[in-house]
Amino acid sequence: METYYNPADLAKFATVGEESPELWKKFMSYYGEVFKDGALTSREKALIALAVAHVVQCPYCIEAYTEDSLEKGVNEEQMTEAIHVASAIRGGATLVHGVQMKNIIKKLGF
């Protein structure tokens, strides 16, 4: 069955750099730096990436950072808590926009 997302396509990621190799090189070196141990450990960064991957709903990133988290010794309970954080922020961000809705109601109503 044909689908938009194919797991094998992840390996073709580098082809995206073909038309603008300089930008690609800069992005990749930046990306590599971001995930190194720093003020946050690379494990903490993998969990943040996993949570963000769920918010942006990127199947490639979800696969990559689930595996990366496992390889950093993270367990399923910890990964689940990370995506609950993502879900809470996403849900909270939706609800807090209710303030905008209320402002409009107030402005337009009697």
Partner: protein, 342 residues
């Protein structure tokens, strides 16, 4: 028995079929070709310091990652004569360490004698125990024997939580392991100022690489101390080797090409230089000699091929038998029976 368990049984025991599965992975550079890119080919033994003796395939457990395909259904067990031959070699050479593995070594009835005799030779004696066997009333006394003879214990505990450990090793294994670890601590194992050493072994719960040894060791130390009051010396991380039951799992779950690609992609020349087979010799339950326990399970004999023909000088010159499973020893931080290598 369903169809898939029939396939599992056949492939776990068939060494040729295992090698065929490993050879057929065509998305990677064959290991032998890869090692030729370094200056390590042909890979040679350096100095044999460790004799790792597999005293049998009988085990009380049936773990998913087991490269031995050990279990209660196995019957292979080293006899007294072969053990005596191993001891003669130890007496005649400067091999410093006798590393006893299995199966569950405790299920070999000659184990106590083997340990006592090796101890008389003043060798460092290690036993790889699965812990749970020591909870069975017939074997609990072995803990005291281990302590009396200063046996270094290496115990598998895949994770510091019950769920992950039990998924890999069987229901209730974590809890039983914790009880035994507590008993060992009470006997002096891993206590300050005690010479008794107890190392734990982490291995991944599936087709992925282990985390950095120091980082997961810190987690184990904290969790086991805070939740269970348990102490240990070191945590060793070991990469799952695509041999035996783990190879069957990879094959049947469709993970084999991906896992091999991962291992090959993480090839580390420094780890290749430090593979454990260069410092050890492995002895099978019938006395056959191999480069390591994995080659043993694949039937890749060395020359001379039997403990009764042991020739240290010749074996120290030997070329190691390499195959695609060797990528597990050279991936990332490396892997050996002593944990990470690079």
């Amino acid at each position: 028995m369903n169809q898939s368990s029939v396939i599992a049984k056949v492939s776990e025991n068939d060494q040729e079929l295992q090698l065929t599965h490993l050879e057929r992975v065509n998305n990677i550079t064959p290991f032998v070709e890869k090692i030729k890119e370094t200056n390590l080919y042909p890979l040679k033994s350096k100095d044999i310091k460790i004799m790792q003796t597999n005293v049998g395939k009988v085990c009380n457990m049936y773990c998913k990652h087991c490269h031995v395909n050990a279990g209660p259904h196995r019957t292979e067990s080293m006899n007294l004569e072969t053990m005596a031959q191993c001891l003669r070699v130890l007496a005649d050479t400067d091999i410093t360490t006798l590393d006893i593995t299995g199966g569950a070594p405790e299920l070999n009835p000659h184990l106590p004698w083997f340990i006592e005799e090796a101890n008389k030779l003043r060798r460092r004696v290690m036993v790889r125990t699965n812990l749970t066997v020591l909870s069975q009333p017939e074997y609990t006394h072995l803990m005291e024997l281990y302590a009396r003879h200063n046996v270094e214990l290496v115990s598998s505990l895949p994770y510091y939580r019950d769920k992950d450990t039990d998924k890999q090793r069987g229901q209730g294994v974590f809890e039983t392991s914790i009880q035994i670890l507590r008993d060992l601590n009470n006997l002096g194992y891993s206590q300050k100022q005690s010479p008794l050493k107890l190392n734990l072994v982490y291995n991944p719960g599936g087709a992925f690489l282990p985390p950095a040894q120091h980082s997961i060791e810190a987690d184990f130390r904290k969790e086991l101390r805070d939740r269970h009051g348990i102490v240990f010396n070191n945590l060793l991380t070991i990469t799952n080797v695509p041999v035996g039951r783990f190879l069957t799992f990879l094959h049947q779950s469709g993970n084999l090409p991906r896992y091999m690609d991962k291992l090959a992609g993480a090839f580390n020349p420094l780890a290749a230089d430090r593979v454990m087979c260069r410092d050890m010799i492995s002895v099978g339950w019938e006395g056959q000699l191999y480069d390591c326990d994995f080659n043993q399970m694949l039937g890749l004999n060395c020359q001379p091929g039997h403990i009764r023909e042991f020739d240290l000088a010749a074996l120290q010159q030997r070329h190691i038998e390499l195959h695609n499973h060797c990528y597990a020893c050279t991936a990332g931080a490396g892997s050996s029976c002593g944990g990470a290598t690079a």
